[in-house]
Structures are given as C-alpha cells and as structure tokens.
Symmetry: D4
C-alpha cells in the first residue's frame, strides 16, 4: 500500500503535474468507501489477491447488503459468509444475481469467473461437521479451487479414510474438519505430503467445551505440516487453501 503509490505521487509532484495539496489529499483518499458503519476495502483484491469478504454475523441484513452492493458496483465478486435467510433476502433484493448456499451459510454473487486454481480435498470426521466443511469448500470454490469432498471419514472407522488415499494425495492442500476428539487432522497429516489445514468444530458435547477439545488436539498433533484455524472457521480454511493454491499457480505461471 505504501511507497509504490507514493513513488507515482512523488513523481507527479516533482513534475508539477500534481500540486502538494492534492498530493496530500490523494494520500488520504485511500481506496475504500466509508459507509458510516463500515469501510469497504476496494484495494484488497490488489493487495491480497482476493476481494473483501463480508462476515454477516453481527451485521444487520441491511448493513451486509449495503456492503455487498458497494462491492458489486465496483465490479468485484461478492462472498458473504455466516449469512442467514434474512441476510440473503436483503442482499438478493439489491443484487438479484446473488445465490444462497444454505448448508454453507454463504451468499455469492460472482461478476467474473475466478482464476482456476488447483485441487484441494475437504474431509470431515462426521456428518455433523458438514456445514463447516461446506463453508470451507464453497469458499475455496469461489476463489477458483477444485474441491473433492470426503465426508464422514473419522478415526473411529479409519479404514474409510485409507480407501481415499488417492484423492487425498492428489490434492494441493487438504482441509481436515472435525469436532469431538479432532484426531482426523493428525491422521491426515501423517498420510500426505501437502499442507494440511485443520478446522476444529464445536460438534460434540460434555468435555468438548465448544470445540476446545478438537482445537487442542489439532494444535498438539504429532504430525508436522498442519496449520490450525479457529473453531468452526470453515471460511478461514477455504481462504488459506486458496492462498496456498494461488502461490502454486503463480509459480506455475512464472515458469511456463
């Protein structure tokens, strides 16, 4: 964000094409829009490779929809997570092209096809982890990844996982989503040679303590090559998987 822009401005100041006052003003006009309750960051697609994402929890449907509209009017893809039916209704009223994935709780409104990225795999320990896994999968797909879903392959019936080793090993990154004991991430980490992204879920009861059990398991895994995201944070896992894939794609492009 810093001196590359400044360089252009400095040169314009130097050549006199930009007065000092206006240069200062430009430096202050950073590329976001202030909606009062939120500052929408249009620069993010440049700076971080993906456009800004709307986290709907804690936002009113109206707030979420205003941000979505603002992004869409700028020509960017819209990805809104943790969206309930009310968020979708208001977003859809403003952006008729918006689509709602109920399981993943995600609203998307894509203006342009995302750049195709490589394959990833998303595994879950059980059936109840699927909503979090879908949040991860849909996020990654929105950013261009191809996603293989391996659901209900937890360690209590670990032979189910071994049957899918081919799929696991063809992925550029594997997302392991599990609640309860959360051992799936470590088992996957011991089987593949690609980055593993572990997502603890709050699925469980008793001494599960809202996902703490699975979180601690994943942080303490004896398998190396595992990075952990927050409890139930499917979006974060999908985003990180896309980030890793984009690096791979960039390197592929550089050489080809």
């Amino acid at each position: 964000m810093m001196h590359m822009d400044i360089q252009a401005i400095l040169e314009a100041v130097h050549t006199g094409s930009l007065p000092v006052d206006q240069a200062l003003e430009q430096l202050k006009t950073l590329p976001y829009d202030d909606l009062g309750f939120a500052r929408v960051d249009h620069h993010r697609a440049l700076r971080q490779g993906f456009p800004e994402v709307i986290f709907c929890a804690g936002k009113t449907p109206e707030q979420a929809a205003q941000i979505a509209l603002n992004l869409a009017q700028d020509g960017q893809n819209v990805l809104a997570t943790r969206a309930d039916a009310a968020h979708y209704a208001v977003i859809h009223a403003l952006l008729p092209g918006a689509v709602y994935n109920k399981t993943a709780r995600i609203v998307t409104c894509l203006r342009e096809t995302p750049r195709p990225l490589g394959p990833i795999a998303v595994c879950t320990g059980g059936t109840a982890d699927i909503p979090v896994a879908e949040e991860a999968a849909v996020t990654a797909e929105t950013f261009g990844c191809t996603v293989s879903r391996l659901y209900d392959v937890g360690v209590a019936g670990i032979h189910r996982l071994f049957d899918q080793l081919d799929v696991l090993r063809q992925a550029n990154a594997v997302i392991a989503v599990a609640g309860m004991e959360g051992a799936l991430a470590g088992v996957v980490g011991g089987l593949v040679d690609r980055p593993v992204i572990a997502v603890p879920t709050s699925v469980g009861y008793g001494a599960n303590f809202g996902g703490l059990s699975a979180l601690l398991t994943m942080l303490n895994t004896c398998s190396a090559g595992v990075g952990v995201v927050n409890i139930d944070n499917g979006f974060g896992a999908g985003y990180l998987a896309a980030q890793i894939n984009r690096l791979a794609a960039d390197k592929q492009e550089e050489t080809s």
Copy 2:
C-alpha cells in the same frame, strides 16, 4: 462389608457365644491398623480383590516404608507407586526383598505369586510416554496379567500400529498411553472389540496444558468402549485392566 459380617455376629450373639458388649466392640474393630498418619487397610484384599497400594508421592520415605512393613508383616504383597530413590532406600532397608523399577517408579515386594490373569496390551504414542506406560504395565504384571508392550505407535506414523493388529486383538484389554494430541486411544478403540483404557500423559508443550489436551481428546473420542483415567495415571490403568481380567478369570473358573 456389612451384614454378612453382622449375620455371623448376630448369630453368635443369639447363641450367647458372644456378649453384646464384645459384639459391639468387634463391629468397631474394623480390619485396619492405625499408624497415626495412615490407616492401613488389611481387609482390602478381601473386599477388592487386590491388596492396598502405597501412593508414595506426598509421603515421606519413612511413612511409605512403615506402611509397606505393616502390609508385608500381614503377609500381603507390597506395591508402592510414584516411589523415588529415597522411598526405595528406606523401604529396602526394612524389606530387603523389595525391588525397584526405576522407569515405572514402582517398588514391589511380593510374598506370593499373583493369580495368573489374561493378556493385555500397553501401547504408547511416543517414546516419552514410556514411563507412564511402564507404571501401567508393571502394575498389571504385579496383579498377574501378561503384558505386551507396543511403544511408539502414535497416529503420526499410524501404519506402525496396523502392523501389530494381531497383538492388539489377542489382548483382553488394551491400555493406550499418549500425550500431545492423544489420538491413539480413539484409533485403537476403532480397531479392537475389547475394553480400551485411555491414559492421557502430560508429555508435550504449549497448548498441551499439562495433559489437558490429551485428556479432552480421549474423553471426546468417537470410538466407543473407551474408559479414561487421570493424566499420567499409569497405575490406575494397570489396576483397571487387572480388574477387568479378574472378572474374565472368575467367569472362566465358574464354568470350568
């Protein structure tokens, strides 16, 4: 402990062979010795099947040795856990037959060969879990079990465990000892059809929180048939395994 004894006493009272005063006195003279700082329970071998065990941590070497002597003089086997070299030195001075297993931190002094019980398996996730596993194994052996040791078979290299399935499946009970993520218990629980006793260990660092991570993992395991003991409680696991084996042996004897 109650009315079976009372019945004998009642009958003696009824027949007049036991005066009321002495009957009352007998009911009060429960079968333990009061050493001042400890009450040694000689009745335990009858009531619970195994003699009383000395937990040395928090006891002075002299206190531990006095209890050991008291049990030995009663003709019972001595099993002292969490014993350090100082405990052993004083016990050995009083009971020259005492033997010290340093890794397991256990002193034993066996007066009679234990009744032979069935086979168990003791697994560990890593090398650092071995002291706790040895506490479990030596405890179970002292109570008559035959122990197979499967060490360093944790989930990060899970194929090592599969190679030992024969051994696992011949055991009457399996003790799974693991720190860090503690996933071993769940994996073992998914592979065998016998009771699994899970022992979380404090091995690890960071968000391991002194064994809390492995404890929560084991309590939340998706595999059924798993009972958990306290962190680092190898003795408790060995004792429970022996308890289960003794039930099996009793049933075997009843029918044969």
Copy 3:
C-alpha cells in the same frame, strides 16, 4: 481388518482365480456404504462385536433415518442415541418396528435378540441424573446385559447406598452416574471389586461448569478400578459395560 482378508485375496491371486486388477478393486471396496453425507460401516459388528450406533445430535431426522434404514436393510440391530421426537418420527416412518425410549432419548429397532450377557448395576447420585443413567441402561440392555437400577443413592445420604451392597456386588460392572460433586464413583469404587465406569453429568449449577466439577472428581478419585467417560455420555458407559461383559461371556464360553 487387514491381512486376514489380504491372505484370502493373495491366495486367490496366486491361484489365478482373481486377477490383479480385481484384487486391487476388492481391497478398495471396504464393507461400508457411502450415503453421501455418511459412510455406514457394516463391518463393525464383526470388527467390534456390536453394530454401528447412530448418534442423532447434529444429524437431521432424515439423515438419521437413512442410516437406520441402511443398517436395518442389512439385517442389523438399530440403536440411535440422542434422538428427539423428530428423529423418532422419521425413523419410525421408515422402520415401523422402531421403539422410542423418551427418557433415554434412544430409538431401537431390534432384528435379532442380542446375545445374553451378564448383570450390571447403574447407580445415580440424584433424580436429575436419571436420563443419562437410562441412556446407559438401555444401551447395555440393547447389547444383552441385565441391568439393576439404583437411583438417588448419592453421598449426601450414603446409607441408602450401603443398603444395596448386595446388588452392587453381584454386578459384573457398575456404572456410577453423578453430577454436582460426582463423589458417587469413588465411593462405589471403594466398595466393589469389579470395574466401575464413571459418568459425570452436567446436572448442577454455579461452579459445576457444565459437568466439569463431576468430571474432575471422577478422574481424581482415590479409588482404583474406575474408568471415566465423557460428561453425560450414558451411551459410552453402557457400551463399555457391555464390552466388559462380552469379554467375560467369551471367556465363559471358551472354557465351557
């Protein structure tokens, strides 16, 4: 699960009765059905002695019912825990023989009488612990155990428990279910010479912290021979009790 099957396959390959391709394919066709959202494990009854159990919490009624149907069609007994009225309604629609135990929150649909196993006792500290105790009791009964129920015998009125010592001591295993202080497990463990399975419950308030108090009490019990399951995990306790009883029954059969 592994090389015994492989042996048969290897021999078929050796004799030429099975081509290499088909052998590989067979090794991949592990005995479960993929329902998309769940992989039903038909092999489990062989591998673990009891059929797969459906944990309804976090599953939609439709998902639970599909798994139940799939198992029933395979001729297996169905046991669905944490089932609410909605789960039952949909399961019952597909499996008219399904029965609902509301207190235990369990749906069963038994195709064959379970193999008779030995006696167990289920105790509770108070009246509010009964639903968890019933989950344990019904689970154990479904697997063939005979269950004695000793409810409301907590330590605040400990003489109530002593009156039932006969019942306790005839059991092959005792399940102690208690919330609040959770001391029941330790007291029972001091009185019997059989395995004790401790189930902390979330019954209580204040510094009970959702069952944490009873859980810690049970893990720290001074009584040996106690294995702990997760908070409110009545199913796990019933399953483990059945597992222990099955070991005893197997040994009995071997010798007779």
Copy 4:
C-alpha cells in the same frame, strides 16, 4: 468501629474537654502502627475477637519478625502462618519464647492462655493432606479449641470414617481436608448435624490442576451445611472453626 468512639469524642467536644482540632486528630489516630511496609492492627483483637495473624509467605523474615515483635510488645498473642525455618529463626531471635510447629508451618508466641472454646474435629482424606490439616488444627488450638485429629479416612476406604462417628458427632464443627477428588467433605456433611468447613488441598496430580478438582467438588457438594475455604488454606478453616466455637461459647456464657 465507628460511632461508639465518635460518641465519646463528641461528648468530650461538647463539654469542651476536647478541642475540635484534637478531636479530628484522634479520629485519625486509628489504633494501628505503621511499620512502613505494614500497618499492624492492634484493634483487631477487640473488633474481631482474635489478634492479627502474620501471613509469612511473601514477607521477608525481617518483616515478619518486626510485625511479631510489634504485636508481642503490645501484649498480644503472636500467630505466624506459612513460616519457613528462616522466618522462625529471625522471629525467635527477637522473641525467644516463640515456638515452631514445622508440619503446620506455624510460629506461635503466646502471652496469655486463650479462652477455652469447644471441641472440633479435623479429618483428612489421606496422609499427604496432613500439613494443611495441622495448620488448621494448630490455628484452632491457638484460639482455644480442643481438636480431635482423624487422619487418612478418605472415601476410598470409607468404613474407616464410620468407625469414628462418635468423635465426629461430638465436635461443634468439623474441618474436612482433602485433595484429589475431595469427596470427604460431602460424606462428612451427610453424617453430622454441625457446620462443616471444607478445605481443598493441592494434593494430587494430573487433572487435579493444583487443587481445582477438590475445590469444585466441595463447592458442588450435595450435602448442605458446608462452607469452603481456599485451596490449602488450613489457617482459614481453623480460624472459622474458632469463630463458630466462640459464638457458641458467648451464647453459653450469656445464659449461664
């Protein structure tokens, strides 16, 4: 502490025997000495019935000794808790009559015989709880109570406790000291009709978490009539027992 004194002062002001300035000054000269690092409260014996107690932990031996000297010079009994050998050495140098109870970690220097109070009982779950119990017992004795010690009567061998019911029931208050599962307090509370003071200790390991397990057990006890003090706080328990006994003694005196 307030207007009774103010009344005397007011009257002296009214009669002119005390100028307003001096009255104000007197109100400020509260009855404590400022040693710079500590303010010794001589008024406490009047206000609270017992003299101020010196908590040595975190104080240098010199600081502890100065406070002890200051109290002794005022003619008060000295009671210093959590005193190690170094504290005792320096106190003893200044107050040759000081006596050190090493197990209880208490230094006393009594100038006057305490008023005799009634009987209490101090129980421990195990041998390792004895230091905390002795802190409670010696504290209560210093304040005039008669103490019966019932050590190593924990719930794993609960019949040991029942043998002592006579002693328990003759006490005006019972102090129950226990680590690990901490169930002793609830069992005692179910057996006596006098106030029970529960002292959790940090004795134990693993999921004991420095006494948290016993603390939660005692707070959640189903037995009513139990008040809990801090982990390892033997002094607090002894003081509260004396406080209760003093109330009883006061009432006895009032009527006699």
Copy 5:
C-alpha cells in the same frame, strides 16, 4: 446412624425377642421411602437436625410434588428450592397449604413452627443479587432464624454498609451475597467477629464468567472467618447459617 441402633437390635437378639432373620431385615429397612425415582430420607431430621429439602431443578413438577407429599404425610416441614411456577402448581394441588415465594423461588409447607434460632444478617452487593439473597433468607427463616436484610450495600458505595454496622454486629452470622467483583464478603469479614458465609452470584457480564469472578474473590479474601458456598447457592448459605445458629442455641440450652 450406626451402632446405637445396632445396640438396640443386638440386645433384642440377645434376649431372643428378635429373631436373627428379622434383625437382619430391620437393619436393611433403613428409614427412607423408595419412590422409584427418589429415596426420601425421613431420618434426616434426626440425623442432621433439619428435614430433607427438595431441590426442584432437574426434577419434573410431578416428581417434586410426590416427594413433598411423602414428607408432609410423615408430618415433616416441606422446603422446596429452585421451584418455578409449574413446580408450585403441582405441589399446591397435592398440599393446599403450600406457599410460594416467587423471588426466592421457594415453596414451603410448614406443619410445625420451627424452633426459634438467633439473628442473622443477609447483605447484597446490588439489587440484582436479591433473588439469591432471598433464597438464603427464606431458607434461614424456615429453619427458625430471624433475618435482617441489608440490600444494595456493595463496595462501590461502601459508606452505605458502615451505616448498618449495628445490625451487622448483632447477627450471629452474616451472609454476604455478591456478584461482579464479589468484594462484599471480604469487607464484611473485616468488620464483624462472627462467621461470615459468602455467596458468589452469577450477576454480571463479560469477564464475570458466570460467577467465577466473585467466587475466586471470596475464596481469596484476606479476611479470615469466611466460608464460601457455590455460586448462586442461597439455600446452602441459609442452611449453614441455621446450622451455626442451632449450635449456639444448643449450647445456650445446655447451660440454661
């Protein structure tokens, strides 16, 4: 509960007036009624000085009412805590004399006037702590105490408390009820020379963590003579205060 009864039985056996069989039977017929879901302890009024109390939370209205009826039919006073309107409705239908204190969430049905005990004071830090304080006050009143209520005298306006020192100091015991920071107990403990019973409440928000903040404050108080009960446990505090008062009353009677 034990050998005093046994003595009578023994003597009857000895004189032949009681056959051995019937003696055994009598020993088993302990004085409680088994309602199936609960065992009502009629002996408690003798053993503990106060009749059994019904803790309604976790019990159905029907269960609570059956226990109440059972106690009332035995001629005992009924005290039911944590009762909501539904519990009251069913109890009232069976026991028309039952009275409901909505703030305290207590149903009482008194058959006999309780023995008059001494005065206590109940203080709260704020207005929101009043329901817990009322549970304590009504409990103590039901057991015969005279209660002074000092509400909203927390440390943020500590001069309010000082104005009431007379009332505080005339009490035989003081119950300090406070949420949030919970400092009230320590301040009261520094001002009176009678036992203080501290009740942390779950009143507050944020880092209050359901009453944990006030609980820890009270356990760590620098004031001696304070016993703590569970979070929101007004009943326990009222019961303990009555227990202390009954000791005082007994001593008063002994001497008079």
Copy 6:
C-alpha cells in the same frame, strides 16, 4: 465522605448549636435514599464528580424507573445503561423527558447541560463492535465529552486507521473497542501519546470464548499507556474517559 463533614458537625457540637444526639443522628443519615431494593446515592455527584448511574441488567423495569425518578426528583441527570425497550417504557412513563438510544442501550434524562469536557476518540475494529462503542460514546457525551467516532478500522485493514491519525492524536483519550483478536488497542497505543482505554467485546466465535481472547490480547499488549475495562463494558470506558478529561479540565481551570 468522612472528616470534612465531621469537622462541620464537630464545630456545631462544640458551639452547642448541635446536640450530641442529633450529631450522631446526622452522621448516620448518610445522603442516600433507601428504596428497599436499592439505596440511591445522591452524594455521589459530589464525591465522584458524576451522578450515580443505573445499570438496568438484572433490574426490573419498575426498579430501574423508581431509581431514575428518585434521582430526577433530586435534580440530577439520569443515565441508565443496558436498558432494553421495557426499561425505557417504564422510565419514560415516569420521566417523559427521557430519551432512548437503542444501539447504545442507554436511556438519558438530562436536567442540566453537563460541563463541557475535551475531545475523545472512539474506534472499533469492526461493524459488530458498534453497540459497545456507542455505549461508550453516549456515556462520554452525557458527561460532557466531545466524541469522534472511527468505526471499522481494525488491524486486518490497518491502513484505514492510519488515515485517521489526525483525529486520533487530537483526542485527550482514545477508546479502542474490539472483539475477535482485539489487536486494535495495542496498535492505537503505539500511535498516540494519550491514555488509551481498551474495551474487549464478545464479538467473535470459536476460540473467542465470549471475549476472553480480546481481553487477554489487550491485557498483554506491548504498548504502554493502555488501561483495560471489562468485556463489553462500554459504559466503564466512557466513564473513565470522562474522568480523565475532567482531571484535564480541572487543571485547565485552576491555571486560567
């Protein structure tokens, strides 16, 4: 509260204009009203510079309204926090001039214009933190501060904050409100040379643990000059900011 008043009383006693009895009485008549459930502190505006504030959570609408009326009748400004619509309705019925800020959950009824204090800034990390920030802002405004609002300037898009450095640096104090990771306070603390008041919010999910994450972040900040208030405690932050500003205003007045 103490001897300044006492001095006046003492002098009146001395001159005979105030009898001793009445002097005592006056000392007892501290300047608050006892409403039964609450003691309203009219003296607070003098003692602490701001009138008493009504914390509505845990109070019935009627209780809150009675306190509000009592304060208003005394001529004081009313500030009621955590007020929901029901609280407002009853307050408004008694005090028609009352105004409700729904986002801030605050009811105000101002009798006199507050003394003008200096400028502060209130920042939030995200949109969902705005309600807490508004509680802080409205509180500070009620006490006379001028408030600049900088919302949605969290560290994930930290350039948004830098654009507002002018505003930040003109404030006498900065309130940083943030949930999730809570890093905003540390970043602000590194940029300004004025006191920073950090308010963790419970905004977030998963390992946020109800605001614990942001709370710990803020307490552990490497930036000096940061004081932290309780989770979601916007009022506390606004009050402290006003307190700081009032000090500044007092010093300004003293010199001018």
Copy 7:
C-alpha cells in the same frame, strides 16, 4: 507519524531540493537503529512523549545493555524494567551512571531531569504487593510524577485506608495494587473522583491461580473509573499514570 513528514518531503520534492529517489529513501529511513536482535526506536520520545523502555525479562544482559547504551548515546533517559542483578551489572559496566532499585527491579540512567508532572498515589493491599507497587512508583517518578505510597491498606482492615483519604484525594490518579481477592481497586474507585489504575498481582495461593482471581475482581468492579493493566504489570500502571498526568500538565500549560 505520516503526512506531516510527508508534507515536508513533498514540498522539498516539489521545489526540486529533494530528488524523488532520495525522498523515497528518506521515507524508508525511519528513526530507529537496527541492532540485529532489536530495533531501537529513537522517535518514540517524540511520538509518545516518553522514551522507549527496555523490558529485560527474556533478554540477555548483553542485549539489554546494548539497547541501553544505544538510547543513552542518543541522549535519552534509560529505564530498564524487570532487571535482575546480572542485567544491572552489564548495563552498569557500559553506563557507569546507571542506578539499580532492587525492590522495583528497575535500572535507570537519567540524562536529563524529567518534566515535573502532578501527584499520584500508589496503594497496596498487603506487604507482599510492594515490589509491584515499587515498579509502578519508580516508573512514574522517572517520568516526573510525585508519588505518595500507601502500603498495606487492604480491605481486611479497611479503616486503615479511610485514614488516608486526604492523600488519596489529592492525587491526580491512584494506582491500586493488590493480589488475593484484589478488592482494593473497587474500594478506592468508590472513594475518589480521579482515574484509578488497577494492578492485580500474583500474590496469593490456591484458587488465586497466579493472579487470575485479582484480575477478574478488578475487571468486574462495580466502581466506575477504573482501568486494569496486566497481572504484576507495575510498569504499565506507572506509565499510564504518567500519561494521564502529562495530559493534565499539557492542558495546564496551554491555558497558563
């Protein structure tokens, strides 16, 4: 830090007195020195009003001394906290003027007299809190504050505090340092109308949990106007007090 500097640079670029390259270079040459293991921030005295402080814990004596030397050579005052004797020895070898306050664990080396700021008060609950209080006091003095020390005035003997109300009320800010229950901050907050800075200490034992008890108390205080710093963070409190005082001094100067 931003556009004020940029403006000067822009103008120099505009006038041609600064080439674009050098302008860019200047923008990169931020005013700190890179020592390899640390980046010393010389600009901080300008930006934040106080020079950078060296936190010695976790730094080798050599690292601490190098930073100290670097600051001193720049003519700045040196303040090194958490310094042990070894840190002091090496700092003193490089900076012979360095002075060590052992209780406060602070090394100072002052090149210029700090600007005189206003009075503050530092209180402690007990004697063991003094080291943390001294860290706060010496820090504040180094930054120019005048400090009144009120030690050992905790709530168990709260009348000691009231005697010092004059001193408390003359302070511009009050630092309340307390361990154990930590109630001092709330009591002070109820008595003064100036900002209160609360410092929880790790002094205590048992359920104190390393200062957590006092921390939660202080965060939950019912008194408004209290900001909390980290456990044992005397430096942070002294710094914040100085920050507040500097605001007051700035305002005083502006008007005079």
Copy 8:
C-alpha cells in the same frame, strides 16, 4: 502407503515369483526399524517429502542419539529439535559431523544438500521471541528454504514493520512469531497475499498464561489466510512453510 506397494506384491504373487507366505511377511515388514523404545520411520522421506525429525524433549540423550545414528546410517539428513547440550554431546559422539545451533536448540547432520526451495520471511514481535523464530528458520533452511529474518517488528512500533514490506511481499510464506498480545500475525496477514503461519510464544507474564493469550489472538485474527501452530512450535511452522514451498516448487517443475 497402501496399494501401490500392494500392486507390486500382488503382481509378484500372481507371477509366482513371491509365495503367499513371503508376501504376507513383506506386507508386515514395513519400512521402519524397531529400536525397542522407538520405531524409526525410514519411509517417511518418500511418503511425506521430508525425513523423520527427532523431537528430543522427553528423550534421553542416548535415545535421541540412537535414532539419529539409525537415520544417518540409512543415508538420511538428521534434524533433531529441542536438543540441549547433553543431547548434542551424545549425538556428536556418534555422528562427528553433527552441528549444534544453540539458540534454535537444533542439531543437524546433513548428508546431502537439500533441494532448493523458495524464499520465506520469519518475523518476531520482540527480542525474546527469537529462539522460537530461529527454530522455525533453521528448520526451514534445513529443508531448503531461503529465510529472511525480520526480528523485533511488533505492533507497539508498527512502523518498523512497514519499512520491510518489500521483504515480506517477496516471500512465498511468512512466519509470524509473537508472544504477549500476539497481534503481529493479524497485521502481517493484512499486508501480504501469501500464506501466513502464526506461532504464538510463551513470552510474557501475568495474564499471558503460558502463551494462551497469543494463541487465542492468532486463532481469532480478522485477517484471513493465517494458519496457527502450537505455542512455541517453531519447528512446526518451519516445516509447514517448507511444505508450502515444496508444493510451489513441484508445480514450477511440472511446468518447466
């Protein structure tokens, strides 16, 4: 690990070149060595891309050295983490080429130059985080990465970080190592478009709780694209960075 090997074996069985018995034996002879206390996994370099790493904590120097020797004799590179001087001494005695990095606590003994991977950056918040950062950096270098070190760039002086944006943005992955508040990871995550690996450290004090504070901050970061490893787990971060880089390198090679 599975059917690729099995295919070869199957074909050999099919052609008769491998008898069924030997095939079974081969399937059991998995490629690891059983040292008794540890099972060394030679296959790992193939399966996971990097050889097995020795975690020395909890292993005796002799155990660590035996594993190192075993790997080296197989021609593999040796990387031993958490090695203290004693571990190094014994390893060095067996492997004279072993090198010890004391700050990183790593012993390496490289037999072959690692395949060159891309650039990464390792940042720390402060000086005390350097040992963990070095563990990450040396690990990544051992696996072939080029590492830029940016130490002491924490958020309290955030302009230090901005000066290094070029370095950050040229990295394929960034490792952010920070204790205390741990905000560095979120700030870095907001500035770069590459995967960020966050390492919380136990550096800090008070409410840092052994790294919990930084851990929670990093899990709750509002910046997407961040994966977290265990507290102080520098190795895990370095390994994951190498894993990510190896993916990029593989893709680069595929296309070139």
